[in-house]
Amino acid sequence: MKINRLPAPTWNRLKVNATEVNAVRPNKAAGYEEKLPEGVDKIHGRGIGPLSDVTIKTGLGEEFDKFIEDAGFKPEGYVVSDEEKIETPLYQTFDVKGNDASVALFDYSLSDNAELTVIQIVKDEDNESGVFFVQNKYRLSKGAKLTIVQIQTLSESKEFYNDIGGYVSDDASFNLIQIVLGAKNNYYGANACLAGKNSALNLAVAYSLKNDELLDMNYVADHNGKNSESDIKANGVMQGRANKLFRGTIDFHKGCAGSKGAELEDVLLIDDTIVNKTVPLILCDEEDVEGAHGATIGRPDESFLFYMGSRGIPREEAYELLKRAKIDAVANLIEDEKTKTYIAECLDRA
C-alpha cells in the first residue's frame, strides 16, 4: 500500500510523493500498561461524543486507515466531558514483544473545554523483528485541549507505524510531541483538521537516527477555520546510513482568513552516508493568511567546532552535545517532569 502521500505531488523521480510499504497484517491487539486518571471514561469501541460523526483523515492516509480497519480490531475510546480539565496525564506504556504484528487503536473525544494529556511510551526489551501499529484519532469540541506525547525507543529490528488524525473545533487545540530514538523503520503521519475558528495545532518532533534507521514522516495542517494557527517543528540528528524524509504541509483552504502557519526544520548531519530529504509545502487558497517555513540542514560550522575544541571538547563530543540539545529543545515542551526524566535516562543510556 501507499502511505504518507504528499498533499500536492511533485516530480516522481524525487521519490517523495508517497511511500510504498509492504506491511504485514496486524494479528494481535497490543498489550500495554495504563494509568487512567480520574474523570476519563474508557469504553471499548469508538469514543462517543458530539463529534462522533465527523470523518477523520490521518497522516499515514486512507489506504493505511482501510488496512487497519480491515484487520478487524476495535479502538479503545476515551471520553472527557464538558469543562473537565484532567490534570494527571493518561500514561500508556507499550512493551513491544516478539515477532508479532501488534496493533493499538485509540479514539479520544473531548467535549467543550475539556483538557487531557496522553503520554505514550513505546519500547521493547528484545531484539525480535516485530511490527507495531498505533493509531490515535481525536475529536476536540469547542475550547478543548488534547496533548499527546510519544516517546519511542524500540530496538533496531522493529518496524513502527504511528498514525494520527483528528478534528479541532473553535478555540480548541491539539498538541503533539514526538521523540523518536529507535526502531529500524519508522512511519509517522499526523493530520489536523483545523476546522474551528482560533483552532490550533502545535507539533514538535525530535529524532536521532543512526545506522540503517529510516524515518518517513507526513504532517499536515489543514486550515479551514478563521484565525486558525499551526506550528510544526522538526529537530533531528542523522548519523550512519540513516534515511529521513520529512513532509510537512500547511494547507490554507478557502475561508480560513486570518490564519497563520509556520514550519521549521533543523537537521544536524554527521556522516556522509545519510540520506536526508525535506519537502515542506505551503498550499494557499486564501488571501489573508501568513505562512512561513524554514529549514536549516547541515553540519555546524567550523567556528563552532573550533570554539568547542578550544575548551577541550572534541568533535564527537561536540556533536553529542548538539544532538542532546536538539532533543532537549523538544523534550522541554513536555510539562510532565517524570516523562522528561524518562527521556533523559533513555538518552544517557544511548
Binding site: A8, P9, T10, W11, N12, L14, V16, N17, F252, K254, V267, L269, I270, D271, D272, T273, I274, V275, N276, K277, T278, V279, P280, L281, I282, L283, C284, D285, E286, E287, D288, V289, E290, G291, A292, H293, G294, A295, T296, I297, G298, R299, D301
Partner: protein, 469 residues
C-alpha cells in the same frame, strides 16, 4: 465598508496583434512519423538528425504526461501544427530584406530599435524558422558565433552540435523533451571562445504568429573557459481561441571559470501551453545566472535547471512569476550539486491575482561528493486577492554531511497598513498597490538591463492598474 480595488485584466494589446499567416509551408496537424519525416526533409537534416527525430517520436508516444502539475488536458496534439515555415526564403542579416509583415511585427516589439541601441547581436524567430540573425562586426571578429542552429548543423561547428545536441536534456527526460526532439525547428547556436568577455548582451526573440501552431526552437550555447556572455530571450504571441504550444529546449554549457547570464522575459498569450525545458551544466569555477520573468501563457511548466559539475561551480536563480486570470503557472528551478564547494542561490517571487494559480516548485540535490557545498533558497508569494491561489512545493535531498542548506518560504498579502501609509502620502490605492507589487518583484527587475526592467515594470503596472469600485 472598505473599498476594494478592482484590477482589470492585463492589457496585452502591444503583444496581441497578428497578421494573417501567409506561411509558405505548413505540415498538417497532429503528430505522425510522416509528419516528422516531412519536417526532417523540409529542413534538410543530416541523417543522424533524422534518426534522432524518429527515435524521439517513439519516446514521445511511450512517455506519459506528467501526473503532478497543472492540467494540460486542453492541449490536443492532434490539433497542433508542429511546423510552420514563414513566407521567406531564407534567413536575413538585414531587416530591409525581411518581409514587411514579419518586419512590422518585430518593429512593434521594438527589436530592431533595441538592436541598434544596446545589443551585440539579435536573432528573431517567426513561427518555426529564424527570419533574422545578425551580430555586430566587432563581436564577430572576437570569434563569437551567433547563428541559427540549422546553419550551424551544416557548418564549421557541425561536430560540436552533434556532440552536444540534447545531451543535457535528453529526449528521455520527459514527454515534451521527446516531442522537442522529434519536431524541433529554429533557435540559436552561440559559441563564445575562451576568455572572450562580451560586455553587451545577445538577444533572441521568439514570436509565434500562426494559429494553433507549436514552436519548438532549440537554443544551444557554449561559453568556453573564462568567457562571459549575457543572453536575453524574449517570447510573445498574439492570442487565439485555440491552444498554442511552446516546447522549446535550452542547453547551456558553461566552461571552466566562465559566466553565463541567461535572462528571459516571457509574455506568451494566454492560450499558450509553455512546456519549456532549460538546463545548464557548469564546470569548475563557472557560474550560471538565471534571470526569469514569467508573465504570459495559459499553462507553464518551467524549471530552469543547473547542474554544478565542477568544483566551486555556482548558480544563481532570480525569478518572478505573475499569474493572472486564467493562468496556471508552475515555475521554479532545479539544482544538482555534483562537486565540492559548489553553491546555489535561489530567490523567487510570485504574484497571484484574479483567479491566477501560481506554483513555486523546486528541487535541490546535494550529492555525496558535494562536500562543503551551500544552497540557499528563498521564495515569497503574494496573494493580491481572494480568488487566486499560490502553492509552494520545494524539495531538498541532502546526501553529504558538511553541506549547508537553507530554505525559506513566505506567503502573504499586501498589508493594509502599507497601502494606508502610501495613501497618506498622496498615492491612489491602485498606485499604492502597483508600487508595492513592483517593489515585491524588484529582485528580478534590478537584475535586468534597464530597458527590460522598464518593460517588466510596465507589465506589472498594466496588470495592477484598475478602477477603484
Amino acid at each position: 465598508m472598505k473599498e476594494k480595488t478592482h484590477v482589470d485584466d492585463i492589457d496585452r494589446s502591444i503583444y496581441d496583434f497578428r497578421f494573417e499567416d501567409k506561411d509558405a509551408y505548413k505540415v498538417s496537424e497532429g503528430l505522425t512519423e510522416d509528419i516528422v519525416l516531412k519536417i526532417s526533409e523540409e529542413k534538410n537534416d543530416p541523417e543522424w538528425m533524422r534518426d534522432f527525430r524518429l527515435k524521439s517520436l517513439k519516446l514521445y508516444n511511450e512517455i506519459q504526461v506528467p501526473d503532478w502539475g497543472p492540467s494540460i488536458d486542453g492541449l490536443d496534439m492532434d490539433n497542433i501544427v508542429t511546423y510552420v515555415r514563414p513566407n521567406t526564403e531564407r534567413m536575413h542579416t538585414d531587416w530591409e530584406d525581411v518581409p514587411d509583415d514579419i518586419k512590422d511585427t518585430f518593429e512593434r516589439l521594438g527589436i530592431p530599435q533595441a538592436e541598434r541601441k544596446s545589443l551585440a547581436g539579435v536573432g528573431a524567430q517567426y513561427d518555426s524558422e529564424l527570419v533574422y540573425h545578425n551580430v555586430k562586426d566587432e563581436v564577430a571578429k572576437s570569434g563569437v558565433v551567433y547563428t541559427d542552429i540549422e546553419s550551424a548543423l551544416r557548418g564549421e561547428y557541425a561536430d560540436m552540435i552533434k556532440e552536444k545536441f540534447m545531451k543535457i536534456v535528453p529526449p528521455t527526460d520527459h514527454k515534451f523533451a521527446a516531442l522537442h526532439g522529434a519536431v524541433w525547428s529554429g533557435g540559436s547556436f552561440v559559441y563564445v571562445p575562451k576568455g572572450v568577455h562580451l560586455d553587451i548582451p545577445l538577444q533572441s526573440y521568439f514570436r509565434l504568429n500562426a494559429k494553433g501552431a507549436g514552436q519548438f526552437e532549440h537554443t544551444l550555447i557554449i561559453v568556453d573557459e573564462g568567457a562571459y556572455l549575457h543572453f536575453i530571450e524574449g517570447c510573445s504571441a498574439p492570442k487565439y481561441n485555440v491552444a498554442n504550444l511552446h516546447a522549446g529546449c535550452v542547453e547551456l554549457y558553461v566552461g571552466k571559470n566562465a559566466t553565463l547570464r541567461y535572462s528571459t522575459i516571457e509574455n506568451w498569450s494566454k492560450n499558450m501551453y509553455n512546456l519549456n525545458t532549460k538546463r545548464a551544466v557548469v564546470e569548475e569555477g563557472g557560474k550560471i545566472e538565471w534571470v526569469s520573468g514569467s508573465f504570459g501563457s495559459h499553462v507553464s511548466y518551467l524549471y530552469p535547471m543547473s547542474v554544478l559539475n565542477g568544483k566551486g561551480a555556482r548558480s544563481e536563480f532570480t525569478g518572478v512569476t505573475f499569474a493572472g486570470e486564467g493562468q496556471d503557472l508552475d515555475t521554479g528551478t532545479k539544482v544538482v550539486h555534483n562537486a565540492e564547494n559548489t553553491s546555489s542561490y535561489v530567490n523567487t517571487r510570485s504574484i497571484s491575482k484574479s483567479g491566477g494559480i501560481n506554483t513555486f516548485r523546486s528541487s535541490v540535490v546535494i550529492g555525496p561528493n558535494a562536500h562543503g557545498s551551500k544552497s540557499a533558497v528563498s521564495c515569497e508569494s503574494l496573494m493580491v486577492d481572494n480568488e487566486s491561489r499560490s502553492d509552494t512545493i520545494p524539495s531538498m535531498d541532502v546526501r553529504c554531511a558538511d553541506a549547508d542548506v537553507g530554505h525559506e518560504a513566505k506567503i502573504g498579502r499586501i498589508s493594509d497598513e502599507t497601502v494606508f501609509y502610501l495613501m497618506s502620502r498622496g498615492l491612489s490605492e491602485a498606485d499604492a498597490r502597483a508600487l508595492i507589487v513592483r517593489g515585491f518583484a524588484d529582485n528580478v527587475s534590478k537584475e535586468l538591463p534597464l530597458e527590460y526592467a522598464v518593460e517588466m515594470n510596465n507589465l506589472i503596472s498594466l496588470e495592477m492598474k484598475g478602477s477603484i469600485g
